[in-house]
Symmetry: none
Subunit: 141 residues, 4 copies
DNA sequence: GTGGTCTAGACCACG
DNA sequence: GTGGTCTAGACCACC
């Protein structure tokens, strides 16, 4: 059954992006590893009660982002992690993500210092929980 | 010169939200205060080279959010400050936004320290442009 | 009317890729320049007798590749050229393209030396025809 | 060891085409000659860990292309060498393939010299693995 | 008017 | 069985 993906219809985030983000997150956190197979387009579509096209779109995005690769007639598989984007592009995307955060904070009327503290706390939590790869070695099916 | 709004076309954030957020920010930071008048829809549209509909929609949202109120025939005015969201809600939404940022950074393979630096830089840029101390002044009428 | 895109149904290359490649080519050759607007999804779909979704897919790809950007309610525009992919990724993609060429040549029974000569000829033709940017300056609408 | 076919899963080229191309290549280079017998479908499928259907499809294509012929109950054999495509057709197809490569390189912003180098490197790799001089020998039966 | 998302269902290529 | 492409047509957000 791999990883339990779930989507929330009614969110403002498009369904296909929810799938992409959950898979990315699973990969980054080590819950999914290279060579792991994603559920087939049809199966996931059925499980999540979605149109197969929507799932296919998500998978296509993952392939373009270098997170997964499609093997004709076999399925879609997680790939070895690799840096697809240039430094400039990565920094551009980081800036976009930061803009989103800052805008949300401004909108909520949260003080800059509080935003920074919240981020620091989150990053520190990350470091503690994530020696990552080696510890997950046991999780091979 | 009043509020000094600026929008960036080409951002993923809709223009009308940019306006909403900047007004909210101005209110939170004290750059705009209760009873201050917002520029007229027509004037702001002209100044920012926008479709008046876009400005109108932003003002509508501000009114719905309780940040401003429309006075027929007079204009739109900032209302008494009040918390639109509960503290719990604000903190929840901030955490969500932070999760998004952190996930994107992890996906891009960017170091936590670099994320913090980028945010700090962005927040410092904010501070520099904001402290237009309570010497507020409605722009024209 | 911008650039005259045309597709050939019945080719083994998917229609959406044909569009992508033609726009890329137009950009690289200077026939389209930053800020130029692409035909609207609906218009191009009608002109090429395609489903709008197919055109949208092509445009989406261009946006993801950093060749164009979508402005809500305005249209899709060519962006300033920028390096989206990392060196490793670019070399990976070049290798894929070279594999395709070599495989076709093997299939056709063409000698390696002849492949190299044909490529050299093509590259030399490029250099001659393409001082590129400055000479196109006049072509602003 | 006969033909020494190898396939690379994960390539964008379908497996069955890889087989077709490698056999064509072997014929062109003299590694296989008229009357040589190809490995049986079952054997090759087993050796390459493929679905027998895939091998059968490749052999079918070779027969359709006139490169090989099936002899009922005996096996599949290389036929007398003959040009499947006219010179003009071959040159046209080569030019198309070269255009694809050059377009991709331009899009990626790769220097012509680097394209040539990459191709040279690839062709040299080919030559090294090919010259299994006319000491041909059908593998088993 | 613009693009973005989603559904429904068809057909093809590949294994 | 798998994924890939395309069509048709709906609904939404934004300008």
């Amino acid at each position: 059954m791999g990883v339990d993906l779930h989507i929330s219809t009614g969110s403002s985030i498009p369904i296909y992006r929810q799938i992409v983000e959950q898979v990315c997150h699973a990969v980054v956190s080590g819950a999914m590893r290279p060579e792991d197979q994603l559920p087939s387009v049809r199966e996931l579509a059925e499980r999540l009660v979605l149109n197969p096209n929507t799932v296919a779109r998500a998978y296509g995005q993952l392939v373009r982002d270098g997170v997964a690769e499609a093997r004709q007639g076999k399925g879609v598989f997680i790939t070895e992690r690799r840096q697809v984007y240039s430094d400039a592009e990565r920094s551009r995307r980081l800036d976009l993500a930061i803009d989103n955060l800052v805008n949300e904070a401004l909108f909520l009327g949260i003080e800059p210092a509080d935003v920074r503290d919240a981020l620091d706390k989150r990053l520190r939590a990350l470091k503690r929980q994530e020696p990552r790869n080696p510890t997950h070695q046991a999780r091979r099916s």
